[in-house]
Symmetry: C2
């Protein structure tokens, strides 16, 4: 039974890092006889350049037909001034997320022991760090309506967005979070702003309700401002955190940065059947695109996550993760994670080292 | 010409820390012949207990009549389960902010050299840190309407809030931020999520417009997720940051925590005439209330900020700040900032040491 993987390189460093992940995927495909078929598609600015839209019908069709998607990154200054905001690269990404109902975003923040020095935090604060942030990805203020910019009666303009969640939207992400916590340290911290925002009062209530089905998981609640503080102060107090789309965007990036090596962090965006899209946590880094110096490991680890969560190929996933650990042990480092005494390598060299380690 | 200062101790550790700040205020009042008249009022849970509302008419009247307000903190578990959300302590605080139109919230994050070790970040990342976060405080999603929880046609409930800013609201906070930047390092970073939220597209546009009046200040823009990362990675890249109410709540707490000593950080909330309310950045810490161990320095430094911004008593403000620096030099530390070899003191001892240093 062959499985289809859609490869979406995207913009900026996307194509470079995805190319290395594809090499790695091809290698495990052969080695473990996975029967994967890889297909490519366009999304983001590169899709706009060819088709005049960041999410062509063709890509959406391929995405629906695939068993899993590996994405590089989208966006760049080239498209930042597009007058029609619907045509910007980000809309391609948001369209994929919502069109495929990929509501469950898993963002691990893991400190690799080999890279402990890279963190801006003191070693005792972050050593052994392993947090999973579960972010709701297809609702909240990202997609809420009404939204826009209107002119008021007094002639001045007003911008507005709507932060909205229904019970069922909260319930389904709660389940993803509780299931994840159950497989890990059994501690779940739900982040909201229930002292100010009604929408998060409902969020908190539904979290409590779903918690009844998971008596083995310890649920706590934290206001988002305090969560941002606690991530800086003592991040190891957390196991799994769950929150809405906007707070999740902010907190997952902060958590990722605690490790000092965002070039290492993968992410998964899953639908209700665990079909998913996988992408590095970092962006398209247009400033270094085309130089062959970007770190492909987050994308390679995203491929491993894809094998694990959507394709059920645990052995192949393990193999990739071990290979990545091995190249780090060998002292190979791309520029973003380089430190004295290590060997600086290019995007391609890093990718090939992982292939070799496999 | 006598000036009225309204003292609002609030809840939790509020009364303890405010008592010490009042001693300090009385001392400079005499020493510098400031002619201040201090009056007390109730707000938050303690007001609810007496008057059945977190913001009694009487307090609001006193607040309007005063030249400046010094607040401790509000909130605590005792009132967390009040069914009517309008009666919770936080509503007292939010009511003061919006009733007095205190739209300009200044939150400095300063690392005291004497407390450099307290940070969870590496010394080279935070030494000399001095950021000012300017947060819009009376608009955005905190106050936007419509808001609430409603039942949908299919029978499930939905929570919703509205994130809204008008041009004039953005313009007036922009001016506060540019003026602040002009008095400091002349660098202003405006934080938004203009790649997703229309309301922040308008925010960015108005920031650019106001920037034309401040050619000496360098304006940049950053997405909120990246700002959260950059605060963790390299906070010293920032001078002044300006953002909306919700993002400001999150980022200012994260920035405060970078210093490791949130017990040291004051804040100011100003109206268009620089009349203002001053409060510590930290909360009411109900877990340690009544034990006499809370750090009063943030409140004492808030009193100094009040003298500087609203009462134009710069010499008295300087004197307080110097006195605080002196007690730190003497090695006096409350529990939250204690480290080996220092002298651990109580709330009261700390307050009295500052009085003595004056
Ligand atoms: C590119 C942008 C729209 C996106 C988001 O805000 O979700 C990104 O920041 C992310 O976190 O994946
Ligand atoms: C208590 C709460 C309503 C308040 C806020 O969110 O503004 C607090 O967190 C703050 O930052 O002053």
């Amino acid at each position: 039974m062959s499985k289809n993987v859609l490869i979406l390189p995207g913009d900026g460093i996307g194509p470079e890092i995805v190319a290395e992940a594809v090499k790695v995927l091809n290698t495990v495909n052969n080695k473990f006889d996975l029967g994967l078929t890889l297909e490519e598609g366009l999304v983001g600015g590169s899709a706009y350049d060819v088709h005049g839209t960041p999410l062509p019908e063709e890509t959406m069709g391929k995405a629906r037909a695939s068993d899993a998607i590996l994405l590089g990154a989208v966006g760049g200054p080239k498209w930042d001034n597009l007058e029609d905001r619907e045509l910007r690269p980000e809309k391609g990404l948001l369209g994929l997320r919502s069109g495929l109902e990929l509501f469950g975003n898993l963002r691990p923040a893991i400190l690799y022991p080999q890279l402990a020095d890279a963190s801006s935090l003191k070693p005792e604060i972050v050593s052994g760090l392993d947090i999973l942030i579960v972010r709701e990805l297809t609702g909240g203020i990202y997609f809420g309506k009404p939204r826009g910019i209107r002119t008021l009666e007094n002639g001045e303009r007003e911008g507005y967005n709507t932060y909205v969640y229904s019970e069922s939207e909260i319930r389904r992400i709660a389940k993803v979070a509780f299931e994840s916590a159950r497989k890990r340290g059994k501690k779940l911290c739900s982040v909201d702003k229930a002292n100010v925002l009604e929408v998060t009062v409902l969020w908190r209530e539904i979290m409590e309700e779903v918690a009844k089905d998971y008596p083995d998981v310890e649920l706590s609640h934290m206001y988002v401002d305090n969560a941002a503080m606690q991530l800086v102060r003592a991040p190891k107090q957390f196991d799994v955190m769950v929150t809405g789309n906007m707070f999740g965007d902010i907190l997952s990036d902060a958590a990722a940065m605690l490790t000092g090596s965002i070039g290492m962090l993968p992410s998964a965006s899953l639908d209700k059947d665990n079909k998913g899209m996988y992408e590095p946590c970092h962006g398209s880094a247009p400033d270094i695109a085309g130089q062959g110096i970007a770190n492909p490991l987050a994308t390679i680890l995203s491929a491993a996550m894809m094998l694990r969560y959507s394709l059920n190929e645990v052995a192949a996933a393990d193999a990739i993760e071990e290979a990545v650990s091995k190249v780090l042990d060998q002292g190979l480092r791309t520029a973003d994670i380089y430190s004295d005494g290590m060997e600086k390598v290019s995007t391609e060299q890093m990718g090939e080292a992982v292939v070799k380690a496999l």
